[in-house]
Symmetry: C6
Subunit: 207 residues, 6 copies
Amino acid sequence: MSCLDPQEKERVAYHEAGHALAALSVPHGAPVHRVSIIPRAIGALGHTLQLPTEQRFLMTRPELEDQLTVMMGGRVAEELIYHGEISTGAADDLERASELARQMVTRFGMGTNLGQLTYGRSLKGRYLSSWSSEEQNYSEKTAELIDEEVRRVSTECYERAKTILTSRRGDLERIARELIARETLDRRRLQELLGSSDTLTEQASTS
Amino acid sequence: MSCLDPQEKERVAYHEAGHALAALSVPHGAPVHRVSIIPRAIGALGHTLQLPTEQRFLMTRPELEDQLTVMMGGRVAEELIYHGEISTGAADDLERASELARQMVTRFGMGTNLGQLTYGRSLKGRYLSSWSSEEQNYSEKTAELIDEEVRRVSTECYERAKTILTSRRGDLERIARELIARETLDRRRLQELLGSSDTLTEQASTS
Amino acid sequence: MSCLDPQEKERVAYHEAGHALAALSVPHGAPVHRVSIIPRAIGALGHTLQLPTEQRFLMTRPELEDQLTVMMGGRVAEELIYHGEISTGAADDLERASELARQMVTRFGMGTNLGQLTYGRSLKGRYLSSWSSEEQNYSEKTAELIDEEVRRVSTECYERAKTILTSRRGDLERIARELIARETLDRRRLQELLGSSDTLTEQASTS
Amino acid sequence: MSCLDPQEKERVAYHEAGHALAALSVPHGAPVHRVSIIPRAIGALGHTLQLPTEQRFLMTRPELEDQLTVMMGGRVAEELIYHGEISTGAADDLERASELARQMVTRFGMGTNLGQLTYGRSLKGRYLSSWSSEEQNYSEKTAELIDEEVRRVSTECYERAKTILTSRRGDLERIARELIARETLDRRRLQELLGSSDTLTEQASTS
Amino acid sequence: MSCLDPQEKERVAYHEAGHALAALSVPHGAPVHRVSIIPRAIGALGHTLQLPTEQRFLMTRPELEDQLTVMMGGRVAEELIYHGEISTGAADDLERASELARQMVTRFGMGTNLGQLTYGRSLKGRYLSSWSSEEQNYSEKTAELIDEEVRRVSTECYERAKTILTSRRGDLERIARELIARETLDRRRLQELLGSSDTLTEQASTS
Amino acid sequence: MSCLDPQEKERVAYHEAGHALAALSVPHGAPVHRVSIIPRAIGALGHTLQLPTEQRFLMTRPELEDQLTVMMGGRVAEELIYHGEISTGAADDLERASELARQMVTRFGMGTNLGQLTYGRSLKGRYLSSWSSEEQNYSEKTAELIDEEVRRVSTECYERAKTILTSRRGDLERIARELIARETLDRRRLQELLGSSDTLTEQASTS
């Protein structure tokens, strides 16, 4: 972490704290295993590790919306703490959130004005095996509807993350300060920091 | 099935019960050979096996609409039972339904405002042999008309499935509970569960 | 033919009878050599064989409109006999009709608002030798005009086929019943069935 | 020519007579070397041979408009003689006319609302050497303007050909009848048929 | 030059005289080294050689507008002398002018409503090394704005060339007649023809 | 530098002085290591070297806006000094600025009406490894929104650069004159020229 200057280190700490606190606050958030400001991949910043959401067979709409809300938590934290001065640090989160919101609308039939249909035909084949693309098999007007629904879903989850982190700003600061001091927190340390109130919301109870 | 948690198992059971009950309720539904919450392919959930609709030479519009209605049955059951909390489990159904509704409109001349024409030219060839695509040989305005008709057809069948499953909610619950208990039901067991009333509607009588 | 069930067999008989009767009724219809409910190719249904329209050097607009009307005869017969319950059996007819109507408008300058011009540039070449496509070298607005004209031409011929088969419903039923009984009819048998009145219209007299 | 039936032969004769008479009537028409109802290529009908317009270094707009008018002469003759019953015989003429009208507008700056500019960028290269295409480097609105101008130019020349052939219908019939009788006419025979009046208009005098 | 007929030769002479005189009249015109009606490349007509504009590191907007005006000079001369009967001879000039006007708007930020931005992303790469294209990375509405600005720039320079050549028609005729007589004129001969008045404007003085 | 004529040399000097002075004036400008009118690459003009902005892990929106403002400084200086007569010298700056402004809007979620989403899917793969492109996975209406936001961001930074250089015109002239005399200035020489007032703004203090 020696290559991050103190200002960057602080920002990464708040960013990851935002993810972790959002994950601990949504009803279907998978348990937070670890949160850290040490990168796990080249080019990445810190990381927040949740288990085991990814292995699920079925995901319900509320669960997917919770995932989106957690993805938004990093940028929301930056926006709150730095008075709207957002950074490039959320680029990967936004890309994953865009992909998920788009799938909700075009693959899972979770839009509101688009019928019980999927949109887009994937192009796969031997020749293009290493290249995945998608054919737009719908009209421009449908493309507009899709964009509007994708924007609506992502904006709702962003606002939801903002509501959560605003109401728990003390916890956000506590996690971030601890991250700056220790760089990595495990699940037990998070629970100690936040007290017993979170053990309840961690259970996936329908909100 | 050990990898499904109890909540997922219950949802899959209702999903498949929805398909099976829709298939038993539409006038041209092919006989339901088996319904199960055991997947038949990697990544799939349960399955409902109908015979032998696929081998038919000709399909009439009412028959295709019945197929669409059966495909919608899984998601409709989830929506009814879980108070609108739909899941990703219907993604494959929606993809097949989209493909079929689109073919009805663009290949079989079953739209209402598009004339007695086919739309789209398939691109096939030696070079691209493993890749099938379709060239849009029509205007944006026609693309909008196609999208509207495809949405109308699919929405009608979705509403039809909802009407069926709502009116037979008792049967839906009975099949689902039995699936949770036994995982797979054959045709005879289904008939026992539902009584003799279904033997009539199983015959392909024009509604 | 053993693989067709009796309902399918009846529908194919009416479908082919529709083609044959339309061919015998339009002024420039090529003589009907044979009509049959036995398929001539895998995936096809029955067939109606006309000679020798395809070898002509020049085709006039009335002749092409007659061809379109004959192509529409199959679906029109199904629509009349089965009270609007059309089937997938007309898919190939509609594809050929679409291709022909499109060529009339874009290759033969037979549209009404598109000027004395051709539209679209075919892409051919060594590299893509097995793949034929067409480059859209015109605006979206022109694409709309083309779609409208193609729809107008095909709808006119569909309505014309409906007028013909409605007015000769007795003949339609007679040919279909004979096809169900004998599966294939040659030209002489068709003339016996329909009486001498058709020998007149078979001559290509301008209507 | 044995494969053309008498009706086709007559139509081809009028079609070629239309080209020849238009070529003899426009101020910049290249001299007609030969006119014939014998095809010069597989798939072609008759031919009208003009010399040596193609070798010119520069072509003026009036000269190009005369070429377009000559191309339109074949279809115009069919339309006049057969009371509007046009045929597929003009397909090649229309394709060449479209290409020329399009070049006038997009390559030679001869449109009226498109500025002194060229439109479209040709794509050529080693990889695609056998395939020539054109990249649309302009907006949809410009594409509409181009289509309108191309249609205007071609329609003007079509109307001009109609005016010419209508006013010289006697000559048109005389050439066609002679073509039916002799199949091919050379320049001298054409001059004998039409009298000395044409020797004047053959000179490229500005109308 | 033996292959040009006298009419073509005259037109080429006026065309090149138009380029030369425009080059001598604009404030930033590079000195005219030679003007000739002898082609320098296959398919080309005459040529006007200016030195050394092409080697410049920086070009200002007025300098680029002067280049455009010189490119327009050939067609403007034809239009003036032949009463609007333009020819195909300006095709290459228009292509170069289109390319330059387009670059001014999309590469050099010289448009008026498009911001300080470049538009279009060039596609280059190993695989497509012999083929250069450009990806449209902007909306249709922006494409319309670009087309409008490109048309405005080129029209302004065309009108400017017309103003110049109209006011110096005597010089235009003098250069053209001399070109018809001698085929090629060098810089000294041009100066003799035009008198000392041009020695002033040849200097690149800001207008 | 012998290949630049004096006028070009002066223009390059003002251009680079514009970059340097903008870099010294914005709150998050990286220190200017060197400014020179000697090119560092073939085809380039002078250069202004800042350290070490490029190595940063995170960039905030104000920092990116400062980068854009510095990129605009070159053209703004030309516009101010030469009374609006801009040149091709800013082409590279504008390309980099367009790329950055576009990334802010489509990758970093820094637009105002586009939601917390990314736009565009990059196409990468083995087959096309040397060719990077981007698939437009959004509607035309979204493309318009993106263009508007990109234009707004770049225009704001351009205006900001204009405000800075207008208010410090004396410093701009001083740096340019020194560059014409010495060709290259290092950081110390810049500080001597501008006095101690800049040592303050060079610190990255939030404005």
